[in-house]
Symmetry: C2
Subunit: 361 residues, 2 copies
């Protein structure tokens, strides 16, 4: 594909080109079956194979131990904000939440409808420029879980080290899903939307510790129950067929490129290139995030003035660097450099940044 | 496409071939933008145009009055089973439900978690072979809505006439969505999964009367609130991008083929062909459904013995007639003949049925 742009969208975002081309080739007639995969019964042999393989590969690539199950759900990470407290919190339980920014606040807001929720650390005081250390966390008695957002897409921060607490962690990993290893023993539940590192929009991938399913709440509608989805291998109702299919292809691509270790290395390289460009600009480009907490997925930066930012975004788009505008709630610039974004795109952006600075002192 | 099968799947199911081919052609590089539509920000200009057009066309094709809004949600019709009572039922309200079969029972089961629910008519006594007439409905005082399943996919029955009641109707139309006109004035909410008549799996399309949104429940998680989705034009969170895109194309195809009137006529023709084949078989093929309530979407039928049914299904598949097996809960055969299934496929099946009968007396 000749015309392919450098796509720094925060999500939905760049997918591996070979995955797109493969899906295109078999889109109308899937493997000679005489119909498209999206026209097939989700209980037929073709889709069953697709779903089974995506489940197995997600466990393998993300190095998930056997005491977890993977669920393919709908409603994005945001429906999980409700489902987690609905399922996990019982009478007398509390949910502890780290308020690390926009997405964490959303999780807290929804959880308050379903249980006693408190903020174990509040990033408001530092304007969400860093994550807390373990000793800053104020964990209360009877806390069922500590909820963290491992990477804040808008703020551009991530946990450099995992909180070392006695209670189980529950993590929203949407914007760095399958981009770094997890210490699974610390977690009861890990979730995220697919539309950044995993495939197209329309699916949340949830890993849940099987042993907690015996105690989840049953007095809720069936779509909202983890135990039901788990017992039916995510086929309780018609699943999001196309995102599952594409996720399977993305997982194969990840595996071919070194799995989780490969993704982590790629991310560190790309992030290193961009933060290097920022740090070597003599303050022309500024990243507001504390160095230790800089995201490897969403690189936020400012220019000396808003006028220069506007000019930067316009010239960048003309040069083929798309979707670099920061989130409307914070302004500035943001380069989202998810798994599938080629290193060459990041190198080209770093060069463009140096050139723009040179031309706009 | 030379090898295309006759696909009688109950859903996901046949989509218009021209829609699939169009999507395939632009899959990797959407309108010369240098990226796939599924890689684009859902807030960017390309997808905004896709979503806006799909919304406008769904209102136009389904002849929806302006006092309704259309919502593109995730979680299928089954999440609606929970969201409807969660949002609509307040203290002192009751929800009345028509138990017309498998899908209605699911709606009732989930609703019981969120309010006082009763069965206004129970099809169990007639083994779900028909829908009730209005005078058979036992509506209680303080009923907020009467929930109906306008077409039961498994039982193969539909409402020939709409219930004529004083309270608002709420309808699950999943398996006959946009295949017949609706008297909108009777309804507060109409919903259904997309994966039959509207496009690929992964989306529920919900039409909600705007005036009821002022009184819906706010003490629930944000993803579960109709008022929030409505106020954000279904862009509260990342929507199911690919199903919306495909829905837009299916709507254009519907419009080109006569809109709702065209779809209703096509359905009546196709259903007429198949029921004709059954009724003219001298009892070899039997449809258990009362004639007036026969579905125009899901034609269920039995053969003289289960052995013959097995032979029929096998020979049919060899001849290119796929997915004719009845639902596992009821057995027998079922031909789902949704909007996009060509009339030629139905005619060919009717001929195959006559031929099979001739060879297997």
């Amino acid at each position: 594909m000749a015309n392919r742009k450098h796509n720094f969208s925060a999500g939905p975002c760049t997918l591996p080109l070979e995955v797109l081309e493969e899906a295109q080739a078999e889109f109308v007639d899937y493997q000679g079956a005489g119909m498209s995969l999206i026209e097939m019964s989700h209980r037929g042999k073709h889709f069953d194979q697709v779903a089974t393989e995506a489940m197995a590969l997600s466990m393998e690539v993300f190095e998930v131990p056997e005491d977890f199950s993977v669920l393919f759900l709908q409603g994005g990470a945001i429906l999980q904000f409700s489902m987690i407290p609905m399922n996990l919190l019982h009478e007398g339980h509390k949910g502890g939440y780290v308020n690390s920014g926009t997405w964490a606040r959303g999780a807290i807001q929804d959880a308050r409808e379903y249980g006693e929720i408190y903020t174990a650390w509040d990033g408001a005081s530092c304007d969400y420029t860093r994550m807390p250390s373990t000793r800053e966390l104020a964990i209360q008695d009877n806390t069922r879980y500590l909820h963290i957002t491992t990477n804040e897409t808008i703020g551009g921060i991530r946990f450099p080290k995992w909180p070392d607490v006695e209670i189980p962690l529950v993590a929203d990993m949407s914007s760095e899903y399958m981009a770094r290893p997890l210490p699974w023993e610390k977690f009861d539940l890990v979730y995220g939307g697919a539309q950044k590192n995993l495939g197209p929009a329309g699916m949340a991938v949830v890993f849940v510790r099987k042993s907690i399913l015996e105690k989840t709440n049953r007095k809720i509608g069936r779509y909202l129950r983890y135990d039901i989805h788990e017992s039916k291998a995510s086929m309780f109702n018609t699943p999001p067929v196309f995102p599952i299919y594409m996720f399977g292809k993305v997982l194969k691509w990840m595996k071919k490129h070194g799995g989780l270790a490969g993704m982590e290395r790629r991310a560190a390289d790309k992030a290193g290139t961009l933060y290097g460009a920022i740090d070597s600009s003599n303050g022309y480009y500024r990243c507001p995030v504390e160095v230790a907490c800089r995201s490897h997925m969403n690189v936020v930066f400012r220019l000396p003035t808003e006028e220069l930012e506007q000019a930067f975004l316009e010239e960048a788009a003309e040069a083929g660097f798309m979707n670099l505008k920061g989130h409307r709630s914070v302004g500035g610039c943001r380069a989202s450099i998810y798994n599938a974004l080629p290193g060459a795109s990041v190198k080209a952006l770093a060069e463009f940044m140096a050139d723009f600075q040179h031309r706009n002192r």
